[in-house]
Amino acid sequence: MNINLTLISQAVAFAIFIWFTVKFVWPPLRTAIDNRQKTIAEGLAAAERGKHDLELASRRSADVLRETKEKSADILAQAERRGQQIVEEAKAAARVEADKVVASAKAEIDQEAERAKQVLRERVAELAVAGAEKILRREVNATAHADMLSALKQEL
């Protein structure tokens, strides 16, 4: 419990250790920690920026998507309208064509019928002639007609 030279030597040791810490221990680690803090702060800022950018991009992509949807719906509607129109046009054209075909068919049928009548007429005439011939052949009898023939000879 007595104060002696140890006091001085301990004070000197203390002073040396303080000096050592101030000079060699504290500054390098402070620098390292400060640098790391800066790096972390920058990283956090970058992350924040990235998040912001992402938000903007997602908003824009949503916009684009919506626009695209609208456009595609438009196109679809247009296409449908166009399709209907084409169908209508096709129907009209088909009707016209069908009328034409029917008309030409009718004309042909009429013609055919006319021709058939013609042929029939000729055939009927032939038949009449043939019938008349047959009738005539059976009716013409030399004896029966001898009077007439002789009368004719007389006249000559």
């Binding site: 104060i3 040791a13 050592f20 810490t21 101030v22 221990v25 504290w26 680690l29 390292a32 920690i33």
Partner: protein, 270 residues
């Protein structure tokens, strides 16, 4: 131990353990060196600050290794404490000084954990030293040296920050006021403050560590009462050691905090 040939009494046991390894370097009571105190404290300081220096020299600003993270933890802890008390450029002196105080005092206090009798055997039979005390902070010279160093730093910074005139002005005009009638009261109070600061600063640490050591010794004496006493003493010793962990860290922390408080008070003018 050395008392083996003579009769071993509690008094001789305790006084043996409380004897310093003294080396006279001149005539008179003052010119004596406690070799054990100086050797242990300087060794601890060199180990601790050498370790810090070694870690810090390879410090990276990137992802720190385990060693660096540990050192950073200690430094950040001290720095946080200083930040709360000291407002100014703490990195140039106060914070590193606080780190020095904390680390050094903590390690010197922690020497108390070494079992006294085993260390006695080690010193006696390995180093051939009869008297050797392990705990430098249980030596009043150490605590006074630290407290007085802080005291001188306090006065140094008072004068540096406020100027010599400012400091003297403050001695007479604070805390009561600058009325000449109040000068004696102010001065008296300041003198008492300047005297009490190093005393309370150093004796608090010394008293705690000294008492801790004595309690370990008293518990160690249970071994003299036989096997049951030895077991009982061991259990009590373990309990006290566990409680002592708190005291060791707390006293180192208090010593550091007071250092920072005194130095920051020196930086502030009233």
């Amino acid at each position: 131990m050395s008392a083996a040939e003579t009769t071993l009494t509690p008094t001789s046991y305790i006084s043996h353990h409380l004897s310093f390894l003294q080396k006279p370097v001149g005539t008179g009571d003052f010119w004596v060196l406690h070799v054990d105190t100086v050797a242990v404290s300087v060794l601890l300081g060199m180990l601790a600050f050498g370790f810090l220096w070694w870690v810090v020299r390879g410090a990276t600003a990137g992802v720190p290794g385990r060693r660096q993270a540990f050192v950073e933890l200690a430094i950040e802890f001290v720095d946080d404490q200083v930040k709360g008390i000291f407002h100014g450029d703490r990195h140039s002196f106060v914070a590193p000084a606080a780190l020095t105080v904390f680390v050094w005092v903590l390690l010197m206090n922690a020497m108390d954990f070494l079992p006294v009798d085993w260390m006695g055997l080690f010193y006696e039979h390995v180093l051939g030293l009869h008297n050797f005390r392990s705990v430098p902070t249980a030596d009043v010279n150490t605590t006074f040296a630290l407290a007085l160093a802080v005291w001188f730093l306090m006065i140094f910074y008072s004068i540096k920050v406020k100027g010599l005139g400012g400091w003297i002005h403050e001695l007479f005009c604070a805390p009561f006021g600058s009325n000449p009638l109040l000068w004696p009261a102010n001065f008296l109070l300041n003198i008492i403050e300047y005297l009490s600061k190093p005393l309370s600063h150093s004796l608090r640490l010394f008293g705690n560590m000294y008492a801790g050591e004595i309690i370990f010794l008293l518990l160690g004496m249970w071994a003299a009462t036989g096997l049951a006493g030895t077991v009982f003493g061991a259990i009590l010793g373990a309990g006290w050691a566990i409680f002592h962990i708190l005291i060791v860290v707390l006293q180192a922390f208090i010593f550091m905090m007071l250092t920072v408080v005194y130095l920051s008070m020196a930086h502030e003018s009233h």
